[in-house]
Point group: C2
């Protein structure tokens, strides 16, 4: 085993796993390195943040996924650099791990456009911890409002602002509004949670820029029907613990959620290759790091175009297609077969949900909205989960919510038990 | 509603909830205050710590439980004192809440017998956060061992010590040993997790002092069959990040779990009444705080005896019986009916599991052990969970583990992503 071609994969997201899956049976040994012990199904992370499902339903221990593949070694570690000359990656702590082929699939995190000081007051949503942080803050705001005697502070506590109106922002705002207006009213005695305001702010001219205009317009009406105030065309200019400034206007809002920008992981910098504005490594259609024949970059940390210049979007299907492509390239190299042609991204469509009953689907020619779209969205997402256990658990949580109107995972956990009062 | 007799209940554990349940339909209004937003089913907390079930399966938002009882107000807040003269409880932040009758059901936490400095290295198990901390440390130890090149450090990482051999200690040690010896071996490539040592330390002469000697002996043999080293009769004299000292002997062990002592909440001190060694308020058989006709103390923070001097144990059924009793007393007072006689604890029995297939049940005259006892234990615990959702979710997690041998919730979450290396 030790003399086999050694593929090192950094990152156990959608791209990294698809690559490892694509190399099943190939004459390689694989080391898969991730900072976390689990693969995360990010498309449903907003449902953890909004108490609909539990953390363990959308996360799987990576090493457990490859327990039946003895050629795959999983390591929990943080990569801090690549030495392309020595063909090693360096782990935090100093350990170096040699490779024959290296695949960087290290993903992206949220970006605050030069305002990193906003992060503590406006957390983004990329990890399980982010999701439990948002869950805690949303639930705590209602709890503190129930205790609060000053009506002005109470209204600030009952004002929730989601910044950025892509699918994640729309999904978060929709569920928070449903919670406030439908799930929680019977549980509070001193406040009326239906008085809560949920504001969705988008700097661009409209919400859901990746979707067609009529679908985005439908989503906007559905959000408003759920009680969300949608504000487009004005950027957020300040975020503090007291509230958010939209353009020139300050809104007292104690709970902010950031769903606006992304920043790639530093893979491009490790390699010293060109990066785009978001820090993504700029690649050709072979997904190779320019100048490095044995290093590939895939997923959210790669900047690739298709169809004559459109950027490949940072979504799970794109990362998976890239992982599958690179697996084919590696297989062909090792077997001496003809190399596959250039990577060509096939856009399968965009999906987003609004609350618990409506969704929009944009497959280009085929478009769909409403309750049936929600069911298609739900079935597709359960299908893409890994393993019977999670499929069953998520289906049960949804079914339960559907039946009872109650959410499964309304827990306030971790440190910040009570936030500072004024 | 506002002119009704006002019962303030501090603590939403088994005792507090049973009291509120017992007052259904009574001419009272109730304010239920807890530091946490959820009621926790502590008897299964060790299963969260050992990755068998998810946090949300054994925790319920308290206010959700009383959504259909408009006379019950739930507040998330930390009580810091009682002013019995003014008949108010004080919340952190200064708010005072008046009462006509006060019930303190504030529970207990772990105690380190004057060695609070051991807490960071040997966490106890009382809250959901404690459970995820222990889960994280156990899983991280295996991960770090897989990365570690020094065999001495590797063995220290693969040595787990549980301190205290009551039911919780026995349950934790059993599952950790099963994980190491049965669940994990196929997932690691550089270490053999079957080399892991699990040590269960008990200062007293035998494990499971609350059980009969033959059942405790059976449990000991079962633990040893699972690979647990049981050490009785010697106290732990030091805990550090490097290991544990048992009597005079140092054992290099990077993961310690504390399951030894309890310390009551400061209810007795708030009232200025006598307390026992563990800080519990010493009460007569009327469960009233001596000298306070309108204050009751129940559950783990109360020190009560039965059957001529035996202490009522700090377990869920005892707290529930006390809650039900005090509800009856309050009802009788308000209706002018005859007061119920003294509180009399009925001991229903003790249960403990060893690993995933065996349990012991001690009902006094009736004793039982083995696989059938495990099934009775499991069915009883599912029965006592609140609501269809949780019963179903826990049953599914167990069924899944039974079927596949895999655990449901093997997640490393929160801060300490990588512990300090030497």
């Amino acid at each position: 085993m030790q003399d086999r071609h050694h593929v090192v994969v950094v990152g156990g997201g959608f791209g990294g796993l698809q690559l490892v899956n694509g190399l099943a049976g190939a004459p390689v040994r694989i080391t898969l390195i991730d900072r976390r012990n689990h693969h995360l199904f990010q498309p449903l992370l907003y449902q953890v943040a909004t108490t609909l499902i539990a953390t363990s339903e959308i996360a799987w221990p990576i090493r457990n996924l490859y327990r039946d593949r003895p050629e795959v070694t999983t390591l929990l570690g943080e990569v801090t650099g690549v030495d392309a000359g020595a063909r090693t990656v360096t782990l935090k702590g100093g350990q170096a791990i040699g490779y024959d082929t290296l695949v960087l699939a290290t993903g992206a995190t949220h970006a605050y456009f030069g305002h990193d000081e906003w992060e503590p007051v406006a957390p983004g949503l990329k990890t399980l911890e982010d999701a439990t942080t948002i869950r805690r803050r949303v639930l705590l705001a209602f709890e503190q409002a129930e205790l609060e005697e000053d009506p002005v502070i109470r209204q600030a506590l009952l004002t929730f602002t989601v910044i950025g109106a892509g699918p994640t922002g729309v999904e978060l705002a929709g569920i928070i509004a449903e919670m406030a207006h439908r799930t929680l009213p019977s549980e509070f005695r001193r406040i009326d949670t239906r008085q809560a305001r949920v504001i969705l702010v988008e700097a661009g001219p409209r919400i859901l820029a990746a979707f067609s205009e009529d679908l985005a317009e439908y989503a906007r009406r559905e959000l408003e029907r759920l009680g969300v105030e949608v504000r487009t065309g004005t950027p957020v200019t300040a975020c503090t613990a007291q509230g958010v400034t939209i353009g020139e206007t300050f809104v007292a809002s104690r709970t902010l959620v950031w769903a606006a920008g992304v920043q790639a992981s530093p893979a491009a910098r490790w390699l010293g290759i060109a990066e785009d504005r978001a820090g993504r490594a700029i690649l050709g259609a072979d997904l190779k790091a320019p100048g490095h024949d044995d290093i590939f970059v895939i997923g959210d940390t790669a900047s690739v175009t298709y169809d004559g210049g459109k950027p490949v979007p940072g979504i799970a299907p794109a990362a998976k297609q890239q992982g599958a492509y690179v697996a084919k390239v590696i297989r062909a190299r090792l077997s001496g077969a003809k190399q596959p042609g250039d990577f060509r991204y096939r856009h399968q469509g965009s999906l987003a949900t609004i609350g618990r009953r409506a969704a929009i689907i944009d497959f280009g020619r085929f478009k769909m909205k409403g309750a049936l779209a929600w069911w298609i969205w739900g079935i597709a997402h359960i299908y893409f989960l890994i393993g019977t256990r999670s499929r069953f658990a998520v289906a049960w949580s949804w079914f339960w919510t559907y039946l009872s109107g109650q959410h499964s995972a309304r827990l306030i956990t971790q440190k910040e038990t009570v936030r500072e009062k004024d």
